[in-house]
């Protein structure tokens, strides 16, 4: 075991864990969260919504199938959710240095090193998860040789960090979808492109109101939604106009805020592949992939709007829709990647709404 350097994980409540480093060796700080998914570490690590977070994977054996190569498709990395790893650090129990998969090109450890992201293994991730579950998400830091200060990413504008800097266009389809990038996952773009679309991806605070488009999409992204003041402002106008709107995760929260609803921080968030949601007023249940720390307050949903989905475990809001206009949102991730694909049909519904309005 002496080939691995030891490092310490220190939580805001004073808890300490010692682990072995298999990634980049530098002290880092952020907010600690856990995800209970059993597959999909390459997707999760590149999910911009994890910006600023130290990610704990509860599934203990990680790195098994290595990391895929950086091939591009449709102007995006084919196997990742963005260009880079976004987590601040990765915490796991057991690391498979020897990986095997036909699509792998390097080990997880080598990838972390190349992307300058620390990773620790040999940690009691279950104990760690229980601390987070009981006390809520908290700050954390990984200390190698030099101690550093705690850092609260939620006090910074994380969306600004992960959003695209300039407008980018994908595809040459018939339907023009304007995508507000608050930290979009590539799979959302991939899904939209399936339906004869042109996707116009714009920065989070871009004033798109003068752009020409048939449907508006607001992406997922990191941090506290109330930080995105310009986006909320633009959305208020769009809602008034009654154009087709689909928002996912942060996009859902921003739409809700624009409608007049309120958001709050969950104790430890929903980060997993097995979040059960029920379509309100039906017996239709879906399994969903989620990654969020904030949520929309059910009671604050204003007149003219209604709950679209409810979380079956804690009854928290999982989506809203406008009662008359083609506007709907989901807290969960219909694009999955990683996670179950049960709700992918929502993209179809969005496109159907777009087509309807356009014709």
């Amino acid at each position: 075991m002496d080939k691995y350097k030891k490092a310490t994980l220190i939580l805001g409540d004073g808890s300490k864990f010692t682990g072995y480093s298999f990634g980049y060796e530098a002290s880092v700080a952020g907010e600690i969260v856990f995800n209970t998914a059993m597959t999909g570490y390459p997707e999760s690590l590149t999910d911009p919504s994890y910006r600023g977070q130290v990610l704990v994977l509860t599934y203990p054996s990680i790195g098994n199938y290595g990391v895929p190569g950086k091939t591009e498709k449709d102007g995006m990395p084919e196997f990742f959710e963005s260009e880079h790893i976004h987590v601040t650090a990765l915490i796991i129990s057991d690391y498979s240095a020897k990986y095997n998969h036909w699509n792998a090109s390097q080990s997880l450890g080598d990838w972390l090193k190349a992307e300058k992201v620390p990773g620790l293994f040999g940690i009691d991730t279950r104990k760690l998860t229980k601390i987070i579950r009981e006390k809520g998400c908290m700050l954390a830091k990984i200390v190698f040789d030099d101690d550093i200060a705690f850092f609260d990413p939620n006090k910074t504008n994380l969306v600004k960090e992960v959003s695209i800097k300039e407008k980018t266009v994908y595809g040459k389809g018939n339907y023009r979808i304007l995508l507000i990038d608050c930290g979009v996952k590539n799979n959302i773009i991939r899904y939209l492109l399936r339906y004869d679309t042109t996707v116009i991806r714009v920065p989070w605070d871009y004033n798109y109101l003068d752009e020409e488009f048939d449907g508006l999409f607001i992406s997922n992204g990191p941090g506290d939604p109330t930080q995105c003041i310009p986006t909320i402002g633009h959305l208020k106008v769009s809602i008034q106009k009654g154009q087709p709107v689909f928002g996912i995760c942060l996009g859902h929260q921003l739409t809700a805020l624009a409608s007049g609803a309120k958001t709050y921080k969950l104790k430890f968030g929903h980060r997993s592949h097995n979040q059960p949601v029920l379509q309100a007023g039906t017996n239709k249940a879906y399994l969903s992939s989620q990654n969020h720390g904030f949520a929309v307050e059910n009671a604050s949903i204003p007149d003219g709007w209604e709950s679209l989905f409810i979380n079956l475990n804690d009854q928290s809001n999982e989506g809203i829709r406008h009662k008359t206009k083609p506007i709907f949102t989901t807290q969960f991730h219909p694009e999955a990647s990683s996670g179950p694909t049960d709700t992918a049909f929502l993209f179809e519904e969005f496109i159907a709404a777009v087509k309807k309005v356009k014709s």
């Binding site: 509860t58 098994n64 095997n100 579950r133 059960p276």
Partner: protein
Amino acid sequence: MIPIKKALVLGSGALKIGEAGEFDYSGSQALKALKEEGIETVLINPNIATVQTSEDIADKIYFLPVTTYFVEQIIEKEKPDGILLAFGGQTALNCGIELFEKGILKKHKLRVLGTPIEAIIETEDRQKFASLLHSIHVKTPTSLAVTSVDDALEATKKIGFPVIVRAAFTLGGQGSGFCFNIDELRQLAGKAFSYSSQILVEESLKGWKEVEYEVVRDQYDNCITVCNMENFDPLGIHTGESIVVAPSQTLTNSEYHKLRKLSIEIVKSVGIVGECNVQYALDPHSEDYRVIEVNARLSRSSALASKATGYPLAFVAAKLGLGYGLHELKNSVTKTTTAFFEPALDYLVVKIPRWDLNKFLGVSKEIGSSMKSVGEVMAIGRNFEEAIQKGLRMIGLGMHGFTANKELKIDDIEGELSNPTDTRIFVIAEAFRQGWSVEDVFTATKIDRWFLEKLKNIFDLEKELQSFPQLTGLPDDVLLHAKRLGFSDFQLARILFSSLEIGSTDDEILQVRDYRKSRNIVPFVKQIDTLAAEHPAVTNYLYMTYHGEEHDIDFENDNKSVIVLGSGAYRIGSSVEFDWSGVNALKTIKKKGYRSVMINYNPETVSTDYDISDRLYFDELSFERTLDIIELEQPFGVIVSTGGQIPNNLAMRFSRQNIPVLGTQPEFIDRAENRHKFSAMLDKIGVDQPKWKELSSMEDIFSFTEEVGFPVLIRPSYVLSGAAMNIVSNKDELEHFLKLATQVSKQYPVVVSKFLTDAKEIEMDAVADKGEIVVYAISEHIEFAGVHSGDATIMFPPQKVYVETIRRIKKISRRIAEELQISGPFNIQFLAKDNDIKVIECNLRASRSLPFVSKVLKTNFIDYATRIMLGEKVEKPNKSLFDIDYIGVKASQFSFSRLSKADPVLGVDMASTGEVGCLGDDYYEAILKAMLSVGHRIPKKNVLISSGPMRSKTELLESARLLVENNYQLFTTKGTHDFFNKNAIPSTQVNWHDVKKEPNAYELIKNKQIDLVINIPKDLSREELDNDYTIRRAAVDFNVPLITNARLASAFIFAISRYKPEDLTVKSWDEYV
């Protein structure tokens, strides 16, 4: 939907290869779900040793065969309004399909709860199912259904060799296999047609990964996959024969969810309501896949998935069958979150099959597309190394993990790797030892390199450990790492103290343990909570790991825990009877206000259901792990007498550590287990036993046999079902078998005892309190001594035993109980010949026959035993309890049809895989019900008899006469023909198979012209003439009932002469008692 008031549940009958304890678990869960809804339940299952056939689980229980005839009788009598077909394996499913096809379900307006029967039929017919899948664009292997061998040959012209042949409508791959050429195809196809009128010839996907999903769907079309599992072995090895890991380890998110999505599409299009299993082949070089199989019912895999995840699939499936939606049910572990979810594991499990191929003569050790294993274990860990090493210890074949085992002699590593046998994983270890690389092993096995790298980690660490000269020189990091890779203290001791031999004292193990503890390297207790700690669990489903630094539960130290040790993997000689015993002990412990704690690792059991005990440790029953748990629990006591031989063997070791063992004290257990001590004790109290001697040299053995005369029984000590036990009739046989016996166990010398021919075997099952018998049951074997008690047919109460014999047996039993100060269950086996009684064995624990006698008497012996062990003063029941006016017969189930080439003959070594127990108003009724329950059929016309030695010829004479009187036609081999002729019994003489002349015994069997084969072996040894073997094997291969014991054959013939099926009474358990 109109609510159901009364539901019928079909069980799976006797345990057999491919259909074992998992269905006791599934059925018990379904019955619990129905009971919770206030539905009256009727259960049909002749497997009397199961937990599901207990009073408090089903309202009405019928110990009758699960066949359409009996099921219809019961339907007419009970008038249920619903029926559940998915919880009793293929037996129940096939019976359900037949009930449907015969119009019985419609006639009685019986609603099938759960998946509609038409959907089930669609999944069972491979061709129809393939068309359904193709209609939704799901890929299946290229496959052609054929109904003749010639068509099968034609099919290969389109597909190309190699091909796989499968028979439709069979249990776990019966009659299936790979064929590489025309000859192999001709042979296998011929055999497969004896099981099914339709077979499939399919493209071979050898080397592809095998992955399965357990899928659940409700009537609202809500659908989830509860668990996915990946086989360690690539496709080609039956999933029941494969090491399986859950969740999948080598699949990316994209692969995982591609197959998940397909599973859901399939299940939705079939219209499953309840549970379904989908098996895939996945290309290791792309995302290409094929659907291999779908099981529209609870299965072995679903039981494993339930244990692997904590999601009670059978329970939920039963609720969905009643019309619930998944979102309307709660997660049974958290009690707050919904049942509509897919468990997130924060551990992984490894399932390893348990084979007992050594018990069979002539069977091939190779594993493949047909199932041969008799049980399985599930090991839980936080990495693969930890879990696999635990698992390899759990299978109980004397292995200590992946490494540090006794040396295996392997002549051809390459051959054994590419044509795997039951020891393949240890061959991999040996290959590493001989310098093979992961790549080399991969080339030979096609096992995913990820798994091989993990095994290599274990091997490499062993090498590293060897470089440390002593324990105390080991850095803490390395020691902790070793424990995290699943090394036991024994393995460490073996590696670090080079002199350590197998079976040496516990001193070295304890030395490692003490040092480890002094360095604070200890395991932690973790909970299985279905949600990876996201929500708190209210159940205590636990395992231990070194990948941790805190316990998930608090320990009270209140002296209230009572630990029950389970029986481990099902194997020949130890199965569901010990699960029943353990479960009942736990129930009594709980009722008496103690905390019930179970340790066991068999996923096919009810005792490993987390609702059965207050705390379930799903972990090893090793000395090390039980000590870990005992140290944490600080129990009031440990019960070692309800889990068979594994716990029993721990008794003395516990005693040396001053651990409180409840019931009979370890020194007395040892006195019964140790042949010398036991023999000396019998001599002291004046109880007779067959002459025996423990001997270690050939000369001594020869002089002893000269003194007592042949035949003699040879056996090693300390075994449960007599591995390598044998009866020999002469000096040549003696020499031959001695070599086999001594190979089995070097440490224990050979025991030779005088064998009594034509002696009755009688068993005493009893419970005593401080040496005084409280309840007892005496039962009698139908077969004479020489057939293992686990294979024998047993009647209770005894029917043909002298009153004087009974009196003496009671007297001897009382003396032994007193002498051994027995408190708890025990079993004594006796030989009786002309009122001369000899004791042959005594076990101070629950026996195989305990559930049988408990249920026949409807008096729970385990409840008595447990109360006594807890220190309660129990009242002796009224004497009238033992005076019953009906009979119970226990018959054995054999699985020879699964064990290609094995000689289906019975001997002193146990060969049966399961049993049934049936009740009747008289002996013949009970025996007929029992024989029908284990697959015998009443012959229509033709009976083939080869009657063996003179005494069995005589024995069969009356029966043969009866058969003729009842218009049966007899076919006999030469000796039998001559003998019958002399006694004026007409029969047609048939030629042996090697004589090319009609009528020919083999041809008659093959052409299904024979309805029953009675073939009695010539002598007591298992070495047999080729001719007899061929007849017996043909009977098994062509699915013709076979009896190899003259007394049993005789009993069966008398029974069928006296009773027609319609004369058999259809009475539930409570109508007898």
